[in-house]
Amino acid sequence: MLRYIVRRLIFAVPTLLAVLTLVFLIVRVLPGDPAQAALGDYASEEAVTALRAKMGLDKSLAAQYMDFLVGLVRGDLGSSLITGKSVAEQIFFVLPYTLQLTAASVLVGIIFGVPLGIATALRRNSALDYFGRIFSLAGLSVPAFYLGILLLLVFSVRLNWFPVVGAGTRGDLGSILHHLVLPALTLGLIMTAYVVRMTRSAMLNILSEDYVRTARAKGLGERTVMVRHALRSAMIPIVSIVGIFAISLIGSSVMTEIVFSRPGLGKLMVGAMKQRDYTMLQSIMVIYALLIVFINLFVDLLYGLADPRVRFN
């Protein structure tokens, strides 16, 4: 298994390099000038020219690319073109916020989604099934920022249960979790919708399989049939969708982070994009690519856990 993991990570290197090169080129092809963006439109021409030189933007593209790669090999992500602060420092500062939100949303998605999916499959065409189906259709259709504002209106402004602004006081676990509830619900409920659908259809497929009939014919209790036989086989597609969704959550949490005024990777990226902060953008992409590689690997390992036939040789 260790060899499998190492091999997967080695294969990830060319992927990462391709992502990096693409990002490096794309951000520079776009119109927009980081020096102008940093100094504002009132800045004098002398100052903009001086800053451009300081940012190294007067060097050739090849030279800039080499600087970037050499820095990367040394583990140095460079410093932000705009604030001059270390990029690695800023990314690692916001990364925990993004991971909290992603993990909490996935947790909400599993806790609500899997049981509801199973229940709707078992009680097909019942009121519960219709509720589950309407719920998941609504979840698939609602944009995160809209749901977020709705939750804020009800639970924060009307009921005053949860705070509106920020991600809590650093180091105070209670405050952090209190601030995490609504954003996690926002993304989690949307994820629930996907998980419900996937669980329901996987379960329906499996419930019509011969071995389920056999298990029932053997006289096994319904509970055992469900948990031991049906659910275990349904896990593979569910784990896949959870994995895919976790990846897209990391990327799509931008609007949620903005609505809830939380620091985060997505928000950092949008800010860097607006200001044409090339070094910051490149480095965020490196982190994104790495996260995706890791989550994919994690999901593949989970397959092995769910299905003993999957072996990593």
């Binding site: 009132y42 602060k85 602004v165 920020g166 949008v270």
Partner: protein, 552 residues
């Protein structure tokens, strides 16, 4: 089932680990105490004002680099200038770090000397590496020299030809190679842009980069902490030279989304927020109990520039036809009553000397009031009776996109097809400086008539090809003499006449169509009293000073 439980447990561990990984930066985070203080709704003594800033993060709190409103807002609380715009009442100027505004003296070699006496006992805040210390002439000299250095300031160009010298600890003399009128000189040393005075020992100790996120000045509030993408915390400076602030501090939250800021204000988690420039929004918030909205200047001026080197805009009839085809009042309706108002010259007469009022342009017959018939006639005269089409790019920001789209609809009425391509804000700024648009809409505030005229109409400022390419999108070069002689004129009345003359010329040639200005919108809890009127503010935000209070 056990495996699902394991997965859930694992995810919970990630959440907790991530929650704990956000380090408790001891001593720099006062949020918990201020949260409780404000939640208890206590008296103004000790209250922390919580401000919803319209930005995802700060760019720079070094005042000489602070160019966005989000940065100017914070900087104005931490720093002072030698003189300042009266709070809430620009462009009136009064002494700040200086004891009085001096009369300039002319020297024998044609230069001009301004001698400032400094207040005594003004204390620099304690910095990360420095103790609090008394501000002296050394700091003032250091600071203005920094402003003039393009490597250390975004506003360097404004300080060409200025020499700053220390006379004694409390006296500074500033020599201008070319004499300037007070209207042009005083803004350079006022509490705006390059005029802010930084504490030299503090910045020398930490370096320019670190200073951007830990500013040290002499203002009513001292920088305490900054959490990226989240907040900046300031505390009251008990030794402030105008007296200790009535607030305990200010907490600025970076919240780029208007809905979130609004909800924060409604939920009582914020006291002041940057609002939305729509009359409907203003009405809705004003109608809420306990909330109030302020609409104030200075307004950012939207002007339409024609590139006179690009066909068919090289023909004056075509430019005039477009001017007559546009209906100023229809543009105002985009924002609603009170939020925006018409302007009739590129320099807004409402906010500064040198602009033309409606009466002025009426008298000269240069209003270009809406007249589509006239527009069609002029187009026919130019041989374009069947109309023509041209492409432009617009920023995605409301202030631009709405104007371009309204313009598109109005021009279609006279047969002109303007194709609008919406791009992100930063792209637009680059593209229009590359002559991508034959017709440019630009929204900006500039501190005086000279800056407006120099940067938008002097031949040196022509985009791409000028000696110092800036924002002369019109490629106009016919009023250089007027601009230069106005700048050199030290008699204020004569100077204003020259500025007006320059604008009459611009309108006669119709190289730019002055459209409107847009006011600033801020909402607040009605318990907040800024302690000054809100007429016109250079920083575009209500100033929070030592007089600001939050009542019960």
């Amino acid at each position: 089932m056990r495996k699902w439980l394991m997965l859930c447990a694992l995810l919970s561990i990630i959440i907790l680990a991530a929650a704990c990984a956000a380090p408790a930066d001891s001593g720099s985070d006062t949020a918990s105490s201020s949260d409780t203080a404000a939640a208890d709704g206590e008296t103004s003594e000790g209250a922390v004002l919580r401000l919803g800033i319209n930005a995802a993060d700060l760019s720079s709190l070094d005042p000489h680099f602070a160019s966005g409103t989000q940065d100017r807002t914070v900087v104005s609380m931490v720093f002072n200038g030698l003189v300042r715009y009266s709070p809430g009442d620009a462009p009136n100027i009064e002494p700040d770090l200086a004891t009085a505004i001096p009369e300039p003296e002319a020297t024998d070699d044609g230069k001009q000397v301004w001698t400032f006496e400094l207040r005594q006992g003004v204390m620099c805040h304690a910095g990360p590496e420095t103790e609090a210390y008394e501000l002296t002439a050394d700091d003032v000299v250091y600071s203005l020299q920094k402003s003039a250095n393009p490597d250390r300031s975004a506003f360097a160009g404004e300080y060409d030809g200025m020499t700053v010298e220390k006379v004694d600890d409390y006296t500074v003399s500033i020599t201008m190679d070319t004499p300037l009128s007070p209207v042009l000189f005083l803004p350079k040393i006022a509490d705006y842009a390059g005029g802010f005075i930084v504490c030299s020992q503090a910045i020398e100790a930490v370096g320019d980069e670190a200073f951007k996120t830990h500013p040290v000045g002499t203002g009513p509030f001292m920088f305490e902490s900054y959490t990226p993408q989240d907040r900046v915390v300031l505390t009251a400076n008990p030794d402030y030279f105008r007296g200790a602030p009535k607030l305990a501090g200010v907490e600025g939250r970076y919240m780029p989304d208007i809905s979130s800021r609004e909800l924060g204000l409604r939920a009582g988690e914020l006291d002041v927020i940057h609002g939305l420039d729509e009359a409907q929004w203003v009405d809705a918030i004003s109608g809420e109990e306990g909330l109030a909205v302020d609409v104030f200047g200075v307004g950012e001026v939207a002007t339409i520039y024609f590139n006179i080197d690009a066909e068919p805009f090289d023909k004056p009839e075509v430019r005039k036809a477009i001017a007559y085809a546009l209906n100023r009042d229809a543009f105002l309706a985009l924002f609603g009553p009170g939020i925006a108002d018409n302007v009739y010259s590129p320099v807004p007469a409402q906010f500064m000397d040198g602009g033309l009022t409606k009466d002025d342009v009426d008298a000269l017959d240069l209003e270009y009031a809406y007249d589509p018939e006239m527009a069609r006639e002029l187009l026919a005269e130019a041989g374009l009776a069947d109309g023509f089409s041209f492409p432009v790019v617009s920023s995605e920001m409301n202030a631009y996109r709405k104007v371009y789209e309204a313009m598109q609809a109005q021009l279609a009425e006279v047969g002109i097809d303007m194709q609008v391509d919406v791009v992100d804000h930063s792209s637009m700024h680059s593209l229009i400086r590359d002559d991508a648009n034959p017709v440019v809409v630009y929204v900006a505030f500039r501190p005086n008539a000279d800056v407006y005229l120099t940067r938008f109409f002097h031949s040196d400022s022509i985009v791409v090809t000028g000696a110092k390419p800036d924002t002369n999108f019109s490629h106009y070069a016919a009023i250089d003499d007027l601009i230069d002689s106005a700048r050199a004129e030290t008699d204020e009345a004569a100077q204003i006449e020259l500025w007006k003359e320059a604008q009459v010329q611009i309108l006669e040639d119709m190289v730019a169509y002055p459209l409107m200005y847009q006011n600033q919108i801020y909402a607040r809890s009605d318990k907040v009293d800024y302690g000054h009127p809100l007429n016109a503010i250079m920083n575009l935000n209500p100033q929070i000073t030592e007089m600001t209070t939050i009542g019960q």
